[in-house]
């Protein structure tokens, strides 16, 4: 049983509060989507989980153990970061061998197999890899580590459509065969929406949502009609945002919808996760 608990985490950089009182529980073998706008604090959270930086307040526990300077807890987590921390002169193959020193369950054979699928040459030097192939290289490392927690920060950065497709498929295959807890931080919400089970949204350092995608989608709806009718219907409801064109308004609402109570002339549609995200994190 592997579980991660983030308890009342606050992180300040000088007088800037990057994260404020975040509490989360990450369950075993679930795929989470970590969403937030630029600068919301996603990477800071991932850096804290892997103890690359220290929290100002609060603690992060892996199976009850605090991650701070704790090799045992940290060896259960692999973080595919946006930055490349491997020596640039190293070849892909050598990087795999090195990773195996730290992550003893690293599956070299599987890693080589993925390299073949993505046409990444094992003897290529890391510094000569393009943006897309650097992502592919790091993602292959993450998938091959066989640890209970895999954190992916913008895993598809610079990947073309074919490689993104292949990545999502290989990720799901890997997850089905060797279940693990995966956190994907991404801006490509539309692509990830059907892959993630739970969604975590951070807005300006604060946790604003932590729920299953299914429940978010079932609660969110858009209601369209004349401005006065929409305003009348949505009064007192949890309105996320609205678009207005001419005399027609479309309001995005989060909450239970009583289908029988919709007045004539108003139309209900179901927005996707990305649309809801945009309205939840606007302003």
């Amino acid at each position: 049983m592997s579980q991660m608990e983030i308890k009342n985490i606050t992180k300040k950089f000088a007088d800037v509060t990057a994260l404020e009182n975040i509490s989360l529980k990450l369950e075993e073998n679930k795929i989470y989507g970590l969403l937030g706008r630029n600068g919301a604090g996603k990477t800071t959270l991932l850096n804290l989980i892997t103890n690359r930086i220290f929290p100002t307040e609060g603690e992060i526990l892996v199976n009850g153990e605090n991650v701070i300077e704790n090799d045992n807890a940290l060896s259960k987590i692999y973080f595919m970061a946006e930055n490349n921390y491997y020596p640039e002169n190293m070849t892909v193959k050598k990087a795999f061998n090195w990773t195996k020193e730290f992550y003893t369950d690293f599956d070299s054979e599987y890693a080589a197999e993925l390299c073949e699928k993505f046409s990444l040459k094992l003897n290529q030097k890391i510094k000569t890899l393009s943006t897309g192939y650097t992502s592919i290289f790091k993602m292959i490392l993450a998938l091959s580590c066989n640890v209970p927690f895999v954190l992916l920060d913008e895993p598809v950065l610079g990947l073309d459509a074919n490689h993104r497709d292949l990545f999502y498929k290989e990720l799901l295959k890997n997850y089905s065969e060797k279940p693990k807890t995966i956190i994907i931080s991404t801006h490509l919400i539309e692509e990830a929406a059907d892959i993630i089970e739970d969604v975590i949204i951070i807005k300006s350092g604060k946790l604003i949502l932590n729920e299953s995608v299914e429940s978010v989608l079932s609660q969110g709806y858009a209601i369209t009609g004349s401005i006065s009718a929409v305003d009348g219907f949505t009064a007192g409801k949890n309105i996320l945002g609205a678009d207005t064109i001419g005399g027609i308004k479309c309001a995005y609402v989060l909450g239970h919808l009583d289908k029988a109570g919709i007045p004539d002339g108003l139309e209900v549609t179901k927005p996707d996760l990305q649309k809801l995200f945009i309205h939840m994190t606007n302003r």
């Binding site: 799901l172 892959i195 549609t269």
Partner: protein
């Protein structure tokens, strides 16, 4: 089989309906195997839990059953069962919305009946 990710309907419901359609069309014959949760998940790039939920609807309705260690198989009489259920649903999903739309457009009952006649002639 295709899933429409822009559809209002949850993916797992679309999946169970698509599998049913494939059974009606004879793509999956009775007593033959349907794709595994993993195959569906990877192929359509959906979370395995979603794929499982879609398949479980078919299990609950007795359309498919699990053969231990082998996978999911189409039950005997599954096609008949789906067709029966679809006929029951026909009123709810087609007739009701047809009448609602007709009222909105002020189309009379007689006109609808005429259109139906015409529809059957095609």
């Amino acid at each position: 089989m295709k899933l429409d990710f822009n559809n209002d309907k949850p993916i797992y419901l679309q999946l169970s309906e698509e599998l049913e359609d494939a059974i009606i069309a004879g793509a999956y014959q009775e007593e033959t195997q349907i794709p595994s949760t993993t195959e569906i998940s990877v192929n359509y790039k959906i979370n395995p839990a979603t794929a499982l939920k879609g398949i479980n609807i078919l299990v609950d309705n007795g359309i498919v059953y699990k053969k231990r260690g082998l996978g999911m198989f189409v039950a005997n009489g599954a096609k008949e069962k789906i067709l029966e259920q679809r006929k029951v649903d026909f009123f709810e999903s087609y007739i009701k919305s047809l009448v609602t739309e007709a009222k909105k457009l002020s189309i009379s009952k007689e006109d609808i009946l005429k259109m139906l006649e015409r529809g059957f002639e095609i």
